[in-house]
């Protein structure tokens, strides 16, 4: 996919902390290179988090499970600023190494609202998430009822090869035949088809899995709530195609 002919304008990597951004940075760079798109980073100083920090009875736990004391709005602001600097630095380095155009912004607001304001048509959105365990098992592509011959499946297969992860495709049973046929043509044939039976079922499935990333490429009507999706999958989430446009 050449840059001039790219259907995607940017890959937007957004996160509320550096740890989440860094966990999805490699994936975002691969996406940008594969799609021939630029890379834009957004660190969202989430108002919900700031509000929680102001709460005297809120509790904080580090990523390794240790109790954290003395969390105040000021310390949280300082932590956002520090994470923004680090995020920007690492993003720039990674983009330079991959010869990608890059930009960065730190925005206060709520994650989905910020993305809705920032994203444009043809952007790919990556929501960073640092997994508790280091490596995920597979890439998950949620195709819903979309045509399997569409670019999204080929795109996901490319990513799967680059990340050396198998691909699990959720598509409606109606699309099973064509999806299975395409997956069967792949080298090693490790990929898997699973039926897409609606958002609730998808969230339950994702809760039991341990994916490396989830790519949402459904039609707009099939996109589950992003917050719920992240809570269920606990890994980076990629919104592409109509799913991204619907943010």
């Amino acid at each position: 996919m050449s840059e001039t002919a790219s259907p995607h304008a940017r890959v937007i990597l957004s996160a509320t902390c550096y740890a989440d951004a860094e966990a999805a940075l490699h994936l975002a760079v691969l996406l940008a290179r594969t799609a021939g798109a630029g890379l834009h980073g957004i660190l969202v100083s989430d108002e919900t988090i700031l509000s929680a920090a102001a709460h005297p009875h809120a509790r904080a736990v580090s990523f390794s499970g240790q109790a954290v004391t003395q969390v105040t709005v000021e310390t949280m602001h300082a932590a956002f600023r520090a994470d923004a600097r680090l995020f920007q630095k690492r993003l720039t380095e990674a983009a330079q190494k991959a010869v990608l155009e890059t930009s960065f912004s730190a925005i206060r607001g709520r994650m989905m609202a910020v993305l809705a304001r920032s994203a444009e048509a043809r952007d790919i959105i990556v929501i960073g998430f640092r997994r508790s365990i280091k490596d995920g098992d597979a890439l998950v592509l949620v195709l819903g009822d979309r045509d399997a011959g569409h670019d999204q499946l080929a795109f996901a297969l490319q990513l799967s090869a680059l990340t050396r992860k198998r691909l699990i495709v959720f598509a409606t049973p109606r699309r099973e035949g064509e999806v299975v046929a395409i997956l069967a043509r792949q080298r090693g044939n490790l990929h898997e088809y699973r039926p897409y039976l609606g958002t609730a079922n998808l969230l339950r499935e994702l809760e039991r899995m341990s994916p490396a990333a989830v790519i949402i490429a459904t039609g707009q009507e099939e996109v589950p709530p992003v917050g719920a999706l992240i809570n269920a999958a606990r890994c980076p989430v990629v919104l592409t195609g109509p799913a991204a446009d619907g943010v």
Partner: protein, 812 residues
């Protein structure tokens, strides 16, 4: 001048060895079969003993002059002996997986070193294909996935539970730059402090309890991650170990069977197996792009990749494959320390010097182990530390490789201490005699380690093996050199030259290189004349051309005499003046030259001044000769009177150093001539040393001396009176050039052998020397009588001067 007195001139037959073409019965030397090496029984016996004896330390030192064929004969004997010895073992160095700085040396049956290396390369290639295939297999992937899934499912289930319970308790878990924040919610929104205050105390307490509980559950789930990861890693490692073990065991089985009888190889393969299983992941490294190479993976030489270097077999000594027999005979032309004992090479990596067992290189001792090593003594002794290392190896009977830089702490880097290799070989050192004698005198280890001396003769006595054997040897040299055969006259010429080389008509030279050079030059001239056989003319031409090429200095000297720049008389007579003879040796050429020697005498206190010594131009042997002749003078004349002589002796127009005592007879005769006031015949020259009894002793270079004077006389015109007085003891050394012999035959030149100084006196003065009669005095008119009278007269005058002096003192 009175009638001719003194010794009879030598007949022409005495002037050289009588070798004639008729002595040889062959038509050409091609008919002669080589009779082996002649005249070297002593040396060859010692070399054979060294070659065949099995006891240690019986190494041999081959003494002899360069060009004697010592190296060729040594090589031939050792090669023959080596054929009867078993082929020695192969040696390889392999990695010591437990201590990489101490590589392990393994002994293998002859010819198996290379096979072992190849087998290990095949093993690595096989595993490089098999192990990735094993780990790509459905079996492995399924089992691995099972572990991964069980691990992640366990964790995900726990995290899901934490999040689910949090949602049920109206508690939100937010991801923040500082970790997770756990806070109560109301209507899906984070509860603000204001909202919280609007709740009852019980409700607030319930929310706080829910937050605390969620926090604890979340912390517990997160804290369990490292332990779970550790367990997961262990399970994956166990699976990998099991897979690798299966693959390695199958691949290594063939190798084990091929080398089943060799304990050291089996031990090594055990270590290799363990290391391969432990490090199976190095077979899983993928290569992308150019590194993958243009060939399919199956044909790639995986073993050559750096990460597999640790499994390399470094073959130090490899005997030839099947069919080869015998032990090695190695000649090391550059016996540096490293070339003898081997070396450990280093490579520069990021500015540091690194090494490993594959950089161990063998030395000559490794290659010759089990056989023979021929070394040049001069080379070994001139290479720093080489002699020391050679002795150490012979003494300890093992080859330990070390670096001189490390020994002297010149470099500081990680190095190796390879296993020493047991040593069993025979060293043959070849060198000049001086090295043998110096080593024997100065190095106590030498005679312990080199118990045999093989001393090569420089010549052979004519009677020992007869001309036939020597002619066969000459024929062999021509044959081996691809030269034309010799006809009998040419052979006689070569014999003549051989005598000339030894300066002895009774000996033939064993200087094979010199003889070979002569034959090759003769062959060249025979070829130039279009002949199929080397004839006498070709040999004569070779000799004359050689003399001509080296004759510039000789001609310059002769020219100076003929133009009377250097004053040498070849006729007439003069008191106190005599023609002495000297030999100059410059480069590879030697020639004789006459020198004028003069003596002046007067009354004195018994002192003979040697002007050469006074001016520090005379050497110690010359001075010794001077003192001897003074001894003769003192004992031969006027023994009842004090020696009241002052005399001076000098080599006229000599500005270089003079040494040797071959002019002592000439010096004594010049003194006697001066004392007796008897002129010396200038058409004669003399050489010879004298002892205190007046006997004439042999000197060196007699042929060149005679020819040197002859050439001057011939240039001026031979008179028939001219000739040379030589010690009678030197007659057997005569091997004169044909031009001199022909002149003697024609009565134009004379060679006079002297036995005593009296012979010289009579030949040179024409007067009787005189012997003391019963009355104790020399006969009237004899040279000795005149000499004694003169000395008595000096004594009387001295006595008279003494009396006058006393009277003068008394008058005062």
């Amino acid at each position: 001048m009175a009638k001719t007195l003194g010794p009879e001139p030598l007949p022409a037959a005495k002037l050289s060895a009588q070798v004639k073409a008729e002595d040889f019965t062959f038509t050409t030397s091609a008919e002669l079969r080589e009779s082996g090496w002649i005249g070297q029984d002593r040396a060859l016996g010692a070399i054979r003993m060294a070659a065949e004896m099995r006891h240690g330390d019986f190494n041999a030192f081959v003494l002899g002059n360069p060009g004697s064929g010592r190296r060729r004969m040594t090589r031939a004997i050792l090669s023959e002996a080596a054929m009867n010895r078993p082929r020695p073992a192969d040696w390889v160095y392999v990695n010591n997986f437990g201590a990489p700085h101490k590589p392990v040396a393994i002994k293998l049956p002859a010819g198996m070193g290379t096979a072992f290396r190849k087998a290990m390369e095949d093993l690595i290639d096989e595993l490089a294909n098999d192990i990735p295939a094993l780990f790509d297999s459905e079996d492995y992937q399924t089992r691995r996935r099972g572990i991964e899934q069980s691990y992640s499912e366990e964790h995900e289930a726990e995290m899901s539970k934490v999040f689910e319970q949090a949602r049920a308790r109206d508690v939100a878990i937010l991801r923040t730059p500082m970790g997770f924040t756990v806070v109560g919610t109301r209507d899906g929104e984070v509860m603000t402090p204001e909202k919280r205050r609007s709740l009852s105390d019980d409700e607030q307490a319930a929310i706080d309890a829910a937050v605390d509980e969620t926090e604890q559950e979340l912390a517990a789930a997160l804290k369990a991650v490292p332990g779970r990861e550790k367990q997961h890693r262990r399970e994956v490692e166990d699976l990998n170990y099991a897979m690798a073990t299966g693959g390695v065991d199958v691949a290594i089985r063939t190798l084990r069977e091929a080398f089943s009888g060799i304990r050291a190889v089996q031990d090594y393969l055990d270590a290799v197996r363990g290391d391969l299983i432990e490090n199976a992941e190095i077979f899983l490294v993928r290569e992308d792009g150019a590194e993958a190479g243009p060939f399919p993976v199956a044909t790639t030489r995986h073993y050559a990749k750096p990460r597999f270097q640790r499994y390399t077999v470094n073959v130090i000594v490899a005997q030839d494959g099947d069919g080869a027999t015998g032990a090695p005979v190695i000649e090391e032309e550059l016996p540096t320390l490293a070339n003898l004992i081997g070396r450990i090479e280093f490579a520069s990596e990021m500015g540091a010097l690194v090494t490993n067992f594959t950089m161990i290189k063998p030395g000559a001792l490794h290659r010759a182990n089990g056989g023979f090593l021929i070394l040049d003594a001069r080379q070994v002794l001139s290479e720093p530390l080489a002699w020391d290392a050679l002795k150490r190896c012979l003494r300890t009977r093992e080859i330990a490789i070390y670096s001189p830089a490390e020994r002297f702490s010149l470099i500081s880097t990680v190095s190796l201490a390879p296993d020493p290799v047991p040593l069993d070989l025979r060293v043959i050192m070849v060198g000049e005699r001086i090295f043998y004698y110096l080593l024997a005198a100065l190095d106590p280890d030498f005679t312990q380690l080199f118990k045999l001396e093989a001393d090569f003769n420089d010549h052979i006595a004519v009677s020992a093996d007869g001309p036939a054997a020597y002619a066969a040897m000459i024929a062999g040299i021509a044959r081996d050199g691809g030269l034309r055969p010799l006809d009998p006259p040419a052979m006689a010429w070569v014999f003549h030259e051989s005598h000339r080389m030894t300066d002895d008509a009774g000996r033939l030279s064993l200087g094979l290189d010199h003889l070979s050079d002569l034959l090759r030059e003769a062959d060249f001239w025979a070829g130039a004349e279009g002949r199929d056989v080397i004839g006498a003319g070709a040999v004569e031409k070779a000799v004359s051309e050689r003399e001509f090429r080296a004759g510039r200095l000789r001609e310059l000297g002769a020219d100076a005499i003929l133009r009377e720049t250097l004053m040498i008389d070849t006729d007439g007579a003069r008191v106190g003046q005599i023609n002495a003879l000297s030999v100059l040796e410059i480069g590879g050429t030697r020639f004789g030259r006459p020198s004028r020697l003069t003596a002046r005498t007067r009354l004195g206190t018994g002192k003979v001044v040697d002007i050469e010594r006074e001016t520090e131009l005379g050497g110690p042997i010359h001075s010794k000769g001077m003192l001897i002749l003074q001894g003769y003078l003192a004992a031969a004349y006027a023994t009842d009177a004090p020696m009241s002589l002052w005399a001076s002796l000098v080599f006229e127009q000599s500005y270089g150093g003079v040494d040797g005592d071959s002019a002592s007879a000439a010096e004594l005769l010049a003194l006697i001539s001066s004392l007796s006031d008897t002129p010396i015949d200038q058409s004669l020259a003399i050489t010879g040393s004298v002892n205190q009894f007046g006997d004439i002793q042999a000197i060196g270079g007699v042929n060149e001396k005679i020819e040197g004077f002859f050439d001057i006389c011939a240039a001026r015109g031979l008179t028939g009176r001219q000739g040379v007085l030589i010690p009678a003891a030197n007659v057997k050394h005569l091997s004169l050039r044909l031009r001199v012999i022909e002149a003697v035959e024609a009565g134009q030149f004379r060679i006079l052998p002297m036995r005593s100084i009296a012979d010289g006196i009579e030949a040179l003065t024409g007067f009787v020397a005189g012997e003391r009669g019963e009355d104790g005095v020399y006969p009237e008119g004899s040279v000795n009588r005149r000499t004694e009278d003169r000395l008595r007269a000096f004594a009387e005058k001295r006595k008279a001067f003494g009396r006058l002096g006393k009277e003068a003192k008394a008058d005062v």
